[in-house]
């Protein structure tokens, strides 16, 4: 059923990337009868390729092409994202939360914050509500559309006990795009654990086995896996004409296009624009504002692990089905603007846990030796854990640049990703560490470990939306200010990051973009 398109067919929409943004956009356009070629750098797997093994799946799914982290980032692995059909929706945890109203108006709500490059979004919650609702329906988000919430596992019950003891009002198993009962041809959750190694039964919504096969069934969609896009070509009129890519056999190809939509996650999306420099666009395509690759956000994150007085077996069950929402409001009296969530998250197995506590927590009794094994490792079954995730400040110095000399396997300059915490980020993290530790102390924990950020999974802002062309890269539809037929279709377009996990907003924006793009195509305005 899957259609193939000629490489010289210049009527197609080319989408770069098949994750939350690109995969959704592709299916939505295909459903409307728009012809789409989707170029994905990674391989196409099936559910049979998904195993309950952290190391195996990390190697199979992760984006491990050369990247350099600087600032606060891990030098060798600044981001933990996927290179595979379905993108990071294969390993995402499933948390699907809407932005709060004030989070679309960060500049107005927070005021002038020194060294922060804040800006209001060119759209608001009212505008987005319809698309959020469509996305939740598509993804089967629990707690919406009458879909029951997931049952709480042991790790959640520890969180809930502490939350109640402290007087928090909003603690439940969250809004998760993981089926709590069979829906849309996929089974209900079996409480397997390993959500972030990929869901082996497909209970978790992932582009890989939802949007892609649905798009292919329309006859308007062709997926080309293992196709790495190198450059966007343009004509004398400054409009994109197609893309150059390396195919699965290593051959360089050109696919002509009427529209190019980029959804490569917040490093590859600006990297492609920067690599598409030309005499007309000497600083990279769509970069008259100078904001391409700037304002990289990854959320203010941290982790609290706590030794509880009894067994928890935190690996059992849905990893992130548990949330405390009470700290997400904006209350500058806490010493920072913006808010954060507490979400359940176990430790990714004994080996990663035993390395990470020693490597990342200043509360640890060292990294090795008798005290370490006795206090940290031998208490594994008693551990409870949560992830802290909140809004971080956009800063111009945080972002993606191209290495001057080092090249990757395709001959493209290796991306350098820089991130340094803003003072607001540090203040929020410290507040969240204490709040998280308090939750576990209320449940009887005598020892907590506070771990700094893991390699970034929420990556946003590097081609941001703005009302004025001078402030950002794209407008409220995702179309770039400079090149009307080049769109930003992933989290790169986020003006600010809000506190919540970004996928629901990426999917909602992609649904909205598809609607706008289809109209523009039929009205011949692009």
């Amino acid at each position: 059923m899957a259609k193939t398109f000629d490489k010289n067919d210049d009527s197609v929409v080319v989408i770069v990337g098949s994750g939350a943004g690109g995969g959704t956009l592709g299916n939505e356009l295909a459903q409307k009868g728009v012809n789409v070629v989707c170029l994905e750098a990674g391989k196409r797997f099936t559910l049979d390729d998904i195993e309950n093994d952290w190391n195996t799946m990390f190697g199979r799914l992760s984006w491990l092409d050369a990247r350099k982290g600087t600032g606060d980032l891990l030098a060798g692995l600044p981001l933990w994202v996927c290179k595979t059909v379905g993108g990071t929706t294969v390993h995402w945890a499933g948390a699907s939360l809407r932005f709060k109203e004030h989070e679309f108006k960060a500049k107005s709500a927070y005021g002038n914050i020194a060294d922060a490059n804040l800006l209001d979004w060119p759209l608001d919650l009212h505008e987005m509500e319809r698309f959020y609702s469509m996305a939740e329906d598509k993804m089967g988000t629990t707690g919406t559309h009458g879909i029951p919430r997931l049952p709480g596992n042991n790790n959640f019950q520890v969180m809930e006990y502490g939350a109640n003891a402290l007087g928090y009002k909003e603690c439940h198993t969250g809004n998760m795009s993981i089926n709590s009962e069979p829906r849309d041809g996929r089974p209900g959750c079996h409480q397997i654990g390993f959500c972030m190694a990929g869901c082996a039964i497909g209970a978790k919504w992932s582009i890989l086995y939802t949007e892609i096969p649905k798009a292919e069934a329309t006859g308007h969609f062709e997926l080309r896996p293992e196709s790495m896009v190198l450059k966007i070509n343009h004509g004398k009129d400054g409009k994109a004409t197609g893309v150059v890519y390396v195919d699965a056999d290593g051959n360089t190809q050109e696919q002509k296009a009427r529209v190019v939509a980029i959804a490569g996650n917040a490093v590859e999306t600006p990297r492609l624009l920067l690599n598409s420099e030309s005499s007309m666009f000497p600083d990279g395509m769509a970069n008259s504002s100078g904001q391409v690759g700037k304002n990289f956000m990854r959320h203010t994150t941290a982790t609290v692990y706590a030794t509880m007085p009894g067994a928890v077996y935190w690996d059992r069950g849905t990893q992130m089905a548990g949330i405390i929402m009470d700290e997400v409001h904006n209350n500058p009296n806490r010493g920072f603007v913006g808010g954060y969530y507490m979400q359940t998250l176990p430790g990714f197995g004994l080996a990663w846990y035993s390395g990470n506590v020693g490597g990342m927590s200043k509360d640890s009794p060292g990294k090795w030796g008798r005290n370490y094994t006795r206090e940290v490792v031998e208490n594994y079954r008693n551990m409870a854990g949560m992830w802290l995730v909140g809004e971080d400040m956009p800063q111009e110095k945080n972002g993606v640049t191209l290495h001057e000399s080092e090249k990757d396997q395709h001959g493209l300059a290796v991306p350098i990703v820089n991130f340094e915490d803003h003072a607001n980020d540090v203040a929020m993290r410290n507040h969240a560490f204490i709040a998280g530790s308090n939750v576990y102390q209320a449940g009887g924990s005598k020892k907590q470990y506070q771990l700094g950020p893991f390699p970034s999974t929420h990556n946003m802002g590097t081609c941001r939306m703005s009302k004025n062309a001078r402030d950002g890269v794209c407008n409220s539809t995702g179309a770039t200010h400079d090149v009307p037929n080049v769109f930003i279709s992933d989290g790169s377009q986020f003006t600010t990051g809000a506190a919540c996990n970004p996928t629901l907003t990426i999917v909602s924006l992609a649904i909205r973009q598809a609607e706008n793009m289809a109209n523009m195509l039929s009205q011949n305005t692009i």
Binding site: N154, G310, A311, D315, L350, G355, V377
Partner: protein, 177 residues
């Protein structure tokens, strides 16, 4: 096939019972626990020292030496394929066999040192390239071993058992109601 056994040593202070060295390879035998570790590239002294080191890094009294021996086996495999790793491991063990007392330095095989001296030496090299190589291999080799991890409460792959939906995902009993 017969190989000339050039040297046989018995080591003290470890569950390891005996070592057979044949040419460049060695076999560590443990008759009490019924296991053997053979190395192709690493010398017997290096292999035994790495085993002692792995146990010092992540000691658990209820784990027999065979689980630590598997880590040494993995390092030997790496050393076979990469001479730089072989060299790093041999040199690292040599460094650990230095005993520094004030301004006096003498040599005593790491595996033959007292436990306290071994810990002093490990603290001396904590964080260096060799130390981190062995530490990383021990973390992955020991705690990544499903038979070991199960003893700590990491139950491994669950999809083939239908997940935990009927197997205790919410069975916590000790939280006050």
């Amino acid at each position: 096939m017969t190989k000339k056994v050039s040297r046989r040593t018995f080591i003290q202070g470890s569950a390891t019972a005996g070592v057979v060295v044949a040419g460049s390879s060695s076999v560590i035998l443990n008759t009490k626990e019924s296991w053997a570790l053979s190395t192709e590239t690493l010398s017997a002294d290096t292999a035994q020292s790495l085993l002692v080191m792995a146990r010092h890094l992540y000691p658990h009294d209820f784990l027999g030496d065979q689980y630590y021996a598997e880590i040494v086996s993995g390092l030997d495999e790496q050393a076979k394929n990469d001479s730089a790793i072989a060299e790093k491991l041999e040199n690292g063990v040599k460094d650990l066999s230095k005993v520094i007392e004030g301004d006096r330095t003498y040599h005593l095989a790491f595996k033959d040192q007292s436990s306290g001296l071994q810990l002093e030496n490990l603290n001396r090299i904590d964080g260096d390239d060799f130390f981190e190589t062995v530490r990383g291999a021990t973390l992955n080799g020991l705690y990544g071993n499903p038979r070991v991890a199960a003893m700590f409460g990491f139950e491994g792959s669950s999809v083939e058992h239908g997940g935990y939906i009927n197997r205790g995902f919410d069975d916590i009993g000790w939280l006050p109601k």
